[in-house]
């Protein structure tokens, strides 16, 4: 199994690499198109601000490579958001894989949402063995609106899409690498897809 974590300079990806190590997989960190194309599975991480992350993708041509990938690819946090049509953060156009838009939480709730919340309405093999209302760790100020590709939802002031799937593209708003045993199970499920 060749697992590549796309390394485009957006945030802490060590935690993801370590989480896969705990599952017995040595993940490769790379932004090299050939390395990414030859992977069996791909992780598209992302922490930080959307427009500068998108700029980094454009500088390396990854913005055209990623939407055309055929292998299972899992976007995490900002990675998931960048796969949507657009995000209000920095008025950024997304990669357009998920047919939905990313908006900022209203100030009726504390922003960022930081901590453990539940995921429900689970609809994907990605969540095989995960019970409804399982806790996941989330840190984010922007959320994806519901669409037909929603495979999990979470409530925080509003009910939003905390996971999305379109064909081989998966996205999770939460951090499975930081979500204890249940999070590791989801990463393991992704490896087995």
């Amino acid at each position: 199994m060749k697992l590549v974590i796309i390394n485009y300079g957006a945030g802490n990806i060590k935690s993801i690499q370590f989480a896969f190590n705990r599952l017995g997989i040595d993940a490769i960190l790379s932004n090299d198109p050939e390395e990414i194309l030859s992977a069996d599975k791909i992780i598209f991480p992302g922490v930080g601000e959307a427009s500068s992350a998108m700029k980094k993708l454009q500088e390396t041509g990854l913005d055209t490579l990623i939407p055309n990938l055929k292998q299972p690819i899992l976007g995490i946090c900002l990675g998931m958001q960048l796969l949507c049509n657009s995000t209000e953060e920095g008025n950024t156009k997304g990669l357009g894989v998920f047919n939905t838009n990313v908006k900022r939480f209203s100030n009726e709730v504390k922003v960022p949402q930081m901590g453990w919340n539940v995921i429900k309405n689970l609809k994907s093999d990605l969540f095989s063995g995960i019970k409804e209302n399982e806790y996941m760790y989330l840190v984010h100020s922007y959320y994806a609106e519901h669409c037909k590709q929603t495979i999990a939802t979470t409530d925080y002031g509003i009910n939003y899409a905390s996971a999305l799937q379109h064909n081989n593209f998966f996205g999770v708003q939460f951090h499975p690498e930081k979500s204890s045993l249940a999070g590791e199970k989801i990463l393991d499920n992704f490896l087995k897809l």
């Binding site: 802490n12 935690s15 705990r22 901590g115 100020s141 979500s179 045993l181």
Partner: protein
């Protein structure tokens, strides 16, 4: 629903865990990686490591410790203590820390908060504030609470929120080490005046203190050290009791 977080705090000196009682009289309480794993397994929602090493060698040991924690622990953790530059933060994040907390260095140079938020995102910038009451006014203190300033707690908290802090870790020096409960009045005011999460710290002694800090203090998370380190309050018992009091927790 977003749950309230329980956060054990581990003081680290030269790569080992110590606990300050009122910030002096340190006692050794074990290997940080072993302790961290144990806390993760027993229901802690997050961990905070506070580096109190005074030397560069001590800090280098801490970086190594952070790497080992990140390898083995599957819940988020924050590292604080002695962080004063973008480079310091970069090194910690590269070793796998999820968040950093800055304290005195932000007071000395508030632009640091902006720089960190711009470079790494607000989600990993925790601003720790130590304060105590002087003539009825909450004043920010530096260097582990030993140096008073004229800065008002609430004004400072609002300023760092505007500069991009993702979270406030408020320690009441009046309550820390007393085991008489958290500074709930000040916490509630912070929580009402700010729109970022507030972590309560200082004063935990009983389960009721945690119930109070969530209900009265409106805290988003509660941090404690010795009551957890010495097994006085098992985290699962605490969370069960919080749940019985209709406080949402991860169980």
């Amino acid at each position: 629903m977003l749950t309230k977080r329980i956060i054990p705090c581990l003081d680290i000196k030269n790569g080992r865990t110590v606990k300050g009682v009122n910030f002096v009289d340190l006692r050794d309480a074990g290997d940080p990686v072993v302790l961290a794993k144990q806390y993760a397994d027993r229901g802690a929602d997050e961990l905070v490591f506070l580096d109190i090493s005074a030397t560069l060698e001590g800090r280098a040991t801490t970086l190594e410790m952070v790497l080992h924690v990140a390898e083995q622990v599957n819940i988020p953790f924050t590292v604080g203590g002695g962080i004063s530059s973008v480079e310091d933060v970069n090194a910690l994040l590269q070793c796998g820390a999820d968040k950093v907390s800055i304290n005195s260095s932000a007071v000395k140079r508030p632009e640091l908060v902006n720089e960190l938020a711009d470079k790494f995102g607000s989600q990993c910038v925790v601003v720790a504030i130590d304060a105590k009451q002087i003539n009825g006014n909450w004043k920010v203190h530096l260097a582990g609470g030993s140096i008073p300033t004229d800065i008002d707690l609430f004004e400072w908290a609002k300023e760092v929120e505007q500069r991009g802090a993702g979270e406030i870790l408020f320690t009441s020096m009046d309550h820390d080490g007393t085991k008489n409960g958290f500074a709930n009045e000040a916490l509630a005011k912070l929580s009402e005046e700010l729109n970022i999460p507030i972590i309560a710290s200082g004063g935990a002694g009983t389960i009721q203190h945690f119930i109070d800090t969530f209900k009265i203090g409106k805290a988003d998370a509660a941090l404690a050290a010795s009551v957890f380190h010495y097994g006085e309050i098992p985290i699962l018992d605490l969370k069960n009791e919080l749940k019985n009091n209709n406080i949402s927790v991860r169980l």
